[in-house]
């Protein structure tokens, strides 16, 4: 087991290094955005003196590298500074938004992961049957359509035509948990449809791959029923690639939902990021990007660790 900790430690260290590099890239990419923040804040209605006063107030007259080091120092302690547009703490601005995004991602994941894995097992079992082909075609069509299109289709049927679910997912503090699930069902469903194909097909492929192995042959020869062969013998060895794909898709659920948020007017972090970019609100943009990067790195780390834990050969290296 000691090896695992060492391995995780090493991965974590690498992750931090990558995060540092990313922070550098983020900071200077944001600097490259065209346009002027003071102009963006005050709008078309600002005069030259207005702009000057605001720029000084925001500290934009300092050189970029000085601002980067100061920012990095604070970010290490989870202090992302204040929005240069509203003076509010960045943590306050994106904290709740991030929680909303995590909620939606969790909602979608809770549906998508079991459904796709089970579906994957079933289609592996019934491979090359009509069911297999239909499931593949349907999930592949979902993954091939842009998310906003899927969202609009779902709105058209579930909200406009049948009136089963609300078309906008605006949240309020007074909602019960049931109302919340009802309000956010359509965006969650959109996300489910988008990520399902990937996970299902990976489960199917990983299992089918193993079915040619001699030990599966053995299991079959001793008379184990087909579903048991798959669930008991094939699946445990197939987890590594499946977990990898699941982790990637979970990361996507958190970082790739901007379009879904726009279509359903869901107050998540993607919307906050878009707003911040259009306002040149650097601290918010940087904090969002850093959170996204950290999410990706952490989930990849989790995938690696998960793969190791489920694979005895990796768990006990010679």
């Amino acid at each position: 087991m000691g090896d695992i900790f060492k391995l995780v430690g090493k991965r974590l260290g690498l992750g931090l290094l990558i995060l540092l590099i990313i922070s550098f890239i983020i900071f200077f990419m944001v600097e490259l955005l065209p346009g002027d923040i003071a102009q963006a804040v005050l709008g078309q209605g600002a005069t030259e003196e207005n702009l000057k006063a605001l720029r000084t107030k925001m500290g934009l007259d300092q050189p970029a590298i000085v601002r980067y080091l100061a920012w990095l120092g604070d970010a290490v302690t989870f202090d992302f500074g204040s929005s240069i547009v509203t003076d509010e703490r960045v943590v306050n601005i994106i904290g709740e938004r991030f929680a909303n995004t995590l909620f939606l991602a969790a909602y979608a994941a809770v549906i998508a992961v079991p459904v796709s894995v089970i579906l994957g097992v079933i289609v592996a079992l019934l491979r090359n049957s009509i069911f297999d082909k239909v499931a593949n075609v349907v999930t592949l069509s979902f993954i091939s359509s842009p998310e906003f299109f899927l969202g609009y289709i779902l709105i058209l049927f579930f909200a406009v035509k049948w009136g089963m679910f609300p078309s906008i997912a605006s949240l309020s503090d007074t909602m019960t948990f049931g109302e919340l699930l009802n309000r956010t069902f359509l965006p969650a469903l959109t996300l489910v449809l988008v990520v399902m194909a990937h996970m299902m097909r990976m489960t199917r492929a990983a299992i089918i791959n193993l079915l040619a192995s001699p030990y599966i042959e053995m299991a079959r020869l001793k008379g184990t029923p087909p579903w048991k062969v798959i669930v008991k013998h094939a699946l445990p060895n197939a987890w590594a690639p499946i977990i990898n794909v699941i982790a990637l898709n979970l990361a996507y659920l958190i970082t790739g939902v901007v379009l879904v948020e726009v279509v359903f007017v869901y107050p998540g972090i993607g919307q906050a990021l878009v707003d911040a970019v259009s306002k040149r609100d650097f601290p918010v943009v940087q904090a969002c990007c850093l959170i996204f990067a950290a999410t990706f790195i952490l989930l990849n780390l989790a995938a690696d660790v998960g793969a190791i834990l489920t694979n005895p050969r990796l768990r006990h290296p010679k």
């Binding site: 955005l33 065209p34 346009g35 002027d36 102009q39 804040v41 005050l42 709008g43 078309q44 209605g45 600002a46 005069t47 030259e48 003196e49 207005n50 006063a53 605001l54 107030k57 929005s83 547009v85 509203t86 509010e88 601005i93 609009y152 709105i155 909200a159 406009v160 009136g163 609300p166 078309s167 906008i168 605006s170 949240l171 309020s172 503090d173 726009v262 279509v263 359903f264 007017v265 107050p267 919307q271 906050a272 707003d275 911040a276 259009s278 306002k279 609100d281 918010v284």
Partner: protein, 536 residues
Amino acid sequence: MTNAKDQILLNRLADAARSGSVSRRSFMNAAMAAGITSTAATGLWTGSAKAAPSSGGTFRLGAHDGNTSDNHDPGTYVTFSMIQVAHTYRSYLTLIEPDGSLGPDVATEWSASPDAKEWTFVINDRATFHSGNKVTAADIIASMNHHRGEDSTSAAKALLSDVEEIKDNGDNSVTFVLAAGNADLPWLMTDYHLAIVPANDDGTANWQSGDGCGPYRMTNGEFGVRYTFERHDDWHLEGAYFDAIEIIVLNDPNARQTALVTGDVDAITQLELKTLSLLQRDPNIEIDNVPSAAAITMPMFCDVAPFDNVDVRNALKLAINRQDLNDKITFGAATVGNDFHHSPAMPYWPEDIPQREYDPDQAKALLKKAGAEGLTVNISVADSVFSGAVDMCVLYAEHAKAAGITINVSREPNDGYYSDVWLKKPWCVVQWGARPTPDVMYSLAYKDDAAWNESHWQNERFNELLLQAKSELDNDLRAEMYAEMGMLARNDGGTIIPFFPNFVYARRNNVQHGENLAASWQMDGARACSRWWFAS
């Protein structure tokens, strides 16, 4: 377009109908005598007679253009959704009535010295903040000073730059002392930045608390996302029929329209014109299409060749087919422009200036005179200016071909358009928000030394008239001056005005409003929340 006099007559008639002091027959006779058709008069009669607003309900408004960086500071109000919110929880000294006239808000009356250099506003003694405190002269002064002075970062700083001093007269009134006479000062007070907020003890404005003296008290404000309000029972004006208000920011046009169709909201701002005809088919939805004072302009630098020749400028003005643009780009939801920046929705609109028509032959002749036949010019545009801006330029380029003019449409990035293209490229497309009076508009973008003189136009007579009209308190004389200025801008100016876009917004059919809708902002001058009501 009914003119102002007819409008007043019609309003009186409508009032009479509402109070029951005229019969239907005499109402119809009088209305038709005032020049409106019998169908319109019937509508007016039914509209007026049943227009007894009822109280109650929660009004949910889906508003476009919100940003997480919106906040309580009136000096930084910039998004359209924030303008809706501002008029819901805060009040102003004056307001624009549904019929387009100037009316009282926190100020009950106002008067000027004969040179229009001193304006005194009397404060409504019933006006109270949501915290319960009365609105005092100190609050007014602090609210105005927030936009004045060296350190102010307010976007309304330029608006009040002429104000030298604001005095507390000690009798619940304040006096603005101006450096130069300005007959429009009461109109300027309707600007959405100039919201009244409570004063701190040190004389600064306390905008941070979110307190206001508007019709509704904000109970929860998640900026750029969602706001909830409850009625301010001590509000000083008539109206505020809804018990509670919810303003939800819906930036995506499709999300907005779907929310209205499914009944998740009761009204929405800014419809997508391309799908207007589809939405019209829904029997549960009423669309309001209101001519506005917003404008699309195409300023040419009058000091840069080839635009430095007035014949070239006029040839370009003649080479644009406004009616065609109005049909194909705005789907009829606009008023055609006439190359002077004064919309029929503004006061003092001169109706006798002839409309400039599409005339490629005359344009050709003018170019020949200027020795610029076969002219080739570039126009800069981005789709963010308004939806369809690039299409408009491409269509214009087609119109201009008939006059032998080649217009190259150069598409600029949306991002940073107003810092990198506007005032920098010699010919571009600009969208202007509605301004309350011609003086504000002309002083901002047509005055010789204005920072935003977007066409670099210099015309001595125009500038002379602008200054004269500014301090002229006689309305008839002022109207004459604005007519002459309009003519000068039309024939000599460097700005093509293809059209004034309408405000197009929609509501569920159980939401009702009065006969007129204010044209200063969308949703009845951004006051739908306090002016509209649910049918009982």
